[in-house]
């Protein structure tokens, strides 16, 4: 009897090795890659806002269907100077302000938390990148033996990104927020890899739209490719709010064909360049209201004029996407809505 019990315990222990955990991960979305490589891009020379808007590459990323991290990669050749990588994931996110004592008037309305995703930027010398472009996202870590001969794994990620909630401190920008980094002193003839990790995908459709600019010069604090301003300077993007409007329109309608300019540039589908991106209706107006710190007006207007918002699921054909959240599903303390 005892020996049977022991065998039962052992059997129960080993069966845990073969459970299929696939159900825990969202399935891949047809036509939307979980991992994608854009190939080699050329940093754009920007001298004005229109240059910047024309240089935006838009695309979509989806789930990998497994536990592996998804994301986007691309390469560029060094330019003997600084290069700016600027990415803006769909769409805009904020915490609703409900404090009666310290209200933030611009954030009194709720956000639609189902349409936001997050992309995190890393970049460095391609020689250190351990991923496989288009197949597997990885890191810039290398194994190094220190002076005592002990192995150490060192990250050669050259991107220093700043936290939006705590400017000056190192950190990723966070959900729905633009993130950028300057690769200083890139060397001509040396290949660099940029990795955008899909840290989170929108809950409503598992499709994360993004906009991306690769430009000559630093993102801030210097000049762009002989121009007189940085990318953030061109747009007056000296705050996290204003930075949202460097790239707009990254909320992309599903099911659209690849843009002609993107195809001509040999970018893989689904991608678009500049104003050919099929953005969701009103999404640019929504972003503009965020930049103008006028979300209160926008959200009240949306609530008044849009009848059938679809928050938790992507609206079907002809449906309406709402960018502000469900007012009936928010805390009631304090705020006068």
């Amino acid at each position: 009897m005892t020996s049977r019990l022991v065998w039962a315990v052992l059997f129960a222990s080993v069966t845990g090795c073969d459970i299929n955990q696939q159900f825990l991960f969202p399935d891949p979305v047809e036509g939307v890659p979980g991992v994608q490589d854009l190939g080699t891009l050329k940093p754009a020379v920007l001298t004005n806002i229109q240059d910047a808007r024309d240089a935006v590459i838009y695309g979509e990323l989806g789930p990998t269907g497994a536990a592996t991290v998804g994301g986007l990669t691309f390469n560029f050749n060094g330019v003997n100077g600084s290069v700016c990588v600027w990415v803006d994931p769909e769409s805009v996110f904020w915490n609703q302000s409900i404090s009666p004592s310290r209200p933030q008037p611009n954030y009194r309305q709720p956000d639609n938390v189902f349409d936001d995703g997050d992309l995190d930027v890393r970049a460095g010398n391609s020689a250190y990148y351990t991923g496989t472009p288009g197949e597997r996202i990885d890191d810039f870590k290398i194994r190094y033996n220190d002076q005592l001969g002990n192995p150490v794994y060192v990250s050669f990620n050259d991107c220093r990104t700043e936290s939006i909630t705590n400017p000056g401190a190192e950190g990723h920008a966070g959900r729905g927020a633009p993130e950028y980094c300057t690769l200083s002193n890139t060397v001509e003839g040396v290949n660099y890899t940029v990795v955008l990790d899909s840290f989170s995908l929108p809950l409503d459709d598992d499709r994360l739209g993004y906009g991306l600019i690769l430009a000559m010069g630093p993102c801030s604090g210097g000049s762009i490719g002989g121009g007189s301003a940085t990318l953030s300077g061109l747009f007056g993007a000296d705050s996290d709010v204003a930075a949202e409007c460097v790239i707009t329109g990254e909320s992309i309608k599903p099911g659209s064909d690849q843009g002609k300019r993107a195809a001509k540039a040999d970018l893989p589908s689904p991608t678009w360049v500049g104003d050919e991106v099929p953005s969701w209706d009103r999404s640019r107006d929504f972003e503009a209201s965020f930049c103008a710190s006028d979300l209160d007006t926008y959200c009240k207007d949306e609530r008044k004029n849009i009848a059938d918002c679809s928050w938790e699921a992507e609206p079907g054909a002809g449906g309406t996407r709402c960018y502000c959240g469900d007012i009936t599903d928010t805390p009631t303390a304090g705020a006068d809505l």
Binding site: T2, V6, V9, Q147, L148, A169
Partner: protein
């Protein structure tokens, strides 16, 4: 009938007993750091004030100053201890851990003797180190009588009573004991029945230098790694520390106050030479650890004249 333990019970008992040696080479490393009395001595100049608080002027109309030589453990800033594969003079004028690809030094571990504490007023941001003050009144007296920078409360009024500081901390931190604030001495470390200057981190030894024990807990041991340290001294003007990140730490956000308490930068052991400034002190002779049972004793003996050079 013969009685015996069921097999599963025996199995569970064996696993739960903790008798299995995992072979981890992890130890609590202990030792002593000596800070020379010169590192805790400073010439401090203070403006001479009239009874109404205005400066006493000399014949030319300029304020007059008095200078006193102060030897006090409150001048000992946080002492950072790092375990490195090597320490060299390749990159700096003083011994320091080498950086990989000119980026970061790679420590195996480390600790600090004293860390930045929140003393509950913005005027004390990045100035208070644990294990340096005996009591609350000592903080008030130090800044008023020795440093010549009286502590100001949130309204800009001078704080003259240590109890005010204590009650402010209890209120802001929602605590009920000094031990929870960890700004003043609360343990009778030497067991003499009193809580006094002998219970601080650094205590004067027979040579007149300051000595503190340390423990680096649960450290993976690598034979031959070197213990190296440096002391961050307070800035002569602001009395703040260069290793303190004023934009981080505890966020005080209540009523009319909104500021961070300040905390250590997170990469100090990875990038120590970036933070070492004038008047800081470093260890010239790192300790090479061959046996985890052996105590690691070092002296922070080399004064820094300016970043990158020694005095």
């Amino acid at each position: 009938m013969r009685q015996h333990l069921p097999a599963p019970f025996v199995l569970v008992l064996a696993l739960a007993s903790g008798c299995y040696d995992e072979g981890l080479n992890i130890h609590d490393l202990t030792g002593t750091v000596i800070v020379p009395k010169e590192a805790a001595t400073r010439e401090i100049s203070r403006a001479v004030l009239n009874d109404d608080g205005s400066p006493v002027l000399d014949g030319t109309g300029a304020p007059t100053f008095t200078t006193q030589t102060v030897d006090d453990p409150r001048l000992i800033g946080p002492v950072y201890l790092g375990l490195y594969p090597s320490v060299t003079t390749d990159a700096e004028a003083y011994p320091a851990p080498p950086k990989l690809a000119d980026k970061y030094a790679l420590p195996y571990g480390g600790t600090t003797i004293g860390d930045f504490r929140f003393a509950c007023l913005e005027s004390l941001q990045c100035q208070i180190v644990s294990g340096r003050f005996v009591d609350w009144q000592g903080i008030v007296d130090w800044y008023r009588d020795t440093v010549g920078k009286p502590i100001k409360d949130a309204a800009g009024n001078e704080v003259t009573n240590g109890e005010y500081l204590r009650s402010t901390c209890y209120t802001l931190l929602s605590v009920t004991s000094d031990a929870e604030v960890r700004v003043t001495a609360t343990e009778d470390r030497n067991g003499d029945g009193n809580i006094d200057g002998l219970d601080l981190d650094f205590v004067k030894n027979a040579d007149g230098d300051y000595e503190a024990p340390f423990t680096i807990r649960e450290q993976e041991f690598f034979k031959g790694f070197q213990l190296w340290s440096f002391m961050d001294s307070p800035d002569p003007a602001s009395f703040k520390y260069s290793t303190c990140d004023a934009g981080n730490g505890f966020l005080e956000n209540e009523y009319n106050q909104e500021f961070y308490a300040g905390t250590q930068f997170k990469d100090i052991l990875n990038n120590p030479t970036f933070y070492i400034q004038r008047d800081d002190w470093v260890t010239s002779q790192p300790f090479t650890w061959e046996d985890p049972e052996q105590p690691g004793n070092i002296v922070v003996d080399l004064p820094i004249a300016a970043p990158g050079s020694v005095q």
